[in-house]
Assembly symmetry: C3
Homo-oligomer: 205 residues x 3
């Protein structure tokens, strides 16, 4: 593979944007999945496909990293950004898969709310990625994602509080916790993405 | 915000010390919380307040990082140190909150012992933070925190062993595990703080 | 401790190889442990010994790092490689210890399969470590470990699916999940090792 000769290789930006837009698609499918019990099978398949698309974006970024002589940011930050975007997708796909494999039926309303927060985090992230080029106007993005993650954290605790309220038996709690934890970790992973963007911006400032 | 002109900005040290002293306060409140079942509500509120104080220290460090032209250590180490101190607080606050929201009553003696270890780790950490300035005499600190974390790990397994001994039903185990895991993760986070201090010292040596 | 004078200190390579070979020994003992219910006590003791051996390798690497003026790779990558190898061992030892302390009897076949994957990851890793010296022919290694981790992930989900199938009660599920999670985290930790090797190779390319 030939080394790129442009001093600051610009081909990373569209790859990060593609990766984040894939998360917008995935969180939308997850929203349908949560609500539409009858179509969960095909929607889980759709999420598995989107995860494969995400993997391809991630590996395209790693290949680009291998073949670039000079990178726009530190190599490790590019690596972390790609990995963290990939983590979000993994947790979203896992959440849906766990609903199917534990045989859960209707889900608590809090899970639909968790998913709505993930959708907002995905849209905010996808809108911010193109601004990595200029490194301008990014603080609004990471503040908003941190705000969303705080909200997700409160929601997660409210959900735990409900799980332990006596409404569910131990087995149901176990199953629901598997799913709730993946949704919570997806929100955390969005925050990790935002933290890497903040780190990049701080280094370059 | 004006850039700092001192070549090695010294204003990070008091911020790290304040952050660690806040953990001393928090582990003390957690100690009372574990023992004094009647006052758990107001003590959990107190921990929430201390968490907000901690967040403010963390953000003061990040702002300082943004406005400093030259930093005493690598930017990422300052970032990690602040984040890991913040993590300790988050796990302590979460442990108390989970006791309240799962409606647990008296807690196993092992949890009081876990908390006592966290108190020791907090005091040790707070005493070490001012020595970041000279980077001298820090190895005793990280060795001690590693020792405490080892002890915490053994204690955590003893607690698990008890949880599964037949004394508790599945629902109680689930609730107690939520809390035990947060206490264990707080001990891990203290070790992460010590690891970052070790990394900084190794780099500067 | 005298500083090493060789410009690129070569004494790290045998330490990494020793650390990985120790994981080959540990995954072999874990294989016996899973199958041979009668000898679990002494085999868990054996794993505890191997964990101490691993700790000594890890600390030998850290001491070497402290006393080397020039290192073959970035200090933080050496640190991460040693820590991630150490993590694998911790999860393997914890898995066995949790089987003993929760008093589990016969284990699901999927756990033997998880262990077989860990054995393959250990052998692959131990074979790759000596190639760190030349940084050649390492991509096959990390691709293989990523493939193993993918397989481990699918197997873990199949195991979860079985755990929630109705075959087990809530208490048994809790106990089995403790063990399954440690085995899954050991597979993840092997992947982290491979990721660090990939990072080192990318930086040096």
């Amino acid at each position: 593979m030939p080394f790129s000769l442009t001093p600051k290789d610009s081909s990373f930006y569209p790859l990060f944007t593609a990766s984040a837009q894939n998360l917008v698609a995935a969180t939308d499918v997850l929203g349908e999945f949560i609500h539409d019990q009858a179509r969960r099978g095909p929607l889980a398949d759709k999420l598995r496909e989107l995860e494969h698309v995400g993997d391809q974006s991630t590996h395209a970024i790693f290949r680009q990293l291998n073949s670039s002589f000079v990178t726009p940011f530190d190599r490790e930050d590019i690596y972390n950004l790609a990995s963290d975007l990939d983590d979000v997708m993994d947790h979203i796909e896992a959440a849906a898969d766990l609903v199917v494999l534990t045989g859960l039926g209707a889900l608590p309303a809090e899970m639909a709310q968790q998913t709505a927060l993930l959708q907002r985090a995905a849209v905010t992230t996808a809108e911010a990625m193109p601004r990595l080029r200029s490194l301008k106007d990014l603080s609004d993005y990471w503040i908003e994602v941190n705000r969303i993650e705080n909200e997700a954290d409160k929601l997660y605790r409210r959900l735990l509080s409900r799980l332990y309220s006596g409404e569910f038996d131990a087995l149901e709690i176990l199953k629901l916790k598997e799913v709730a934890d993946q949704l919570e970790e997806a929100a955390d992973a969005f925050e990790h993405v935002a933290n890497v963007v903040e780190t990049i911006t701080v280094k370059e400032s």
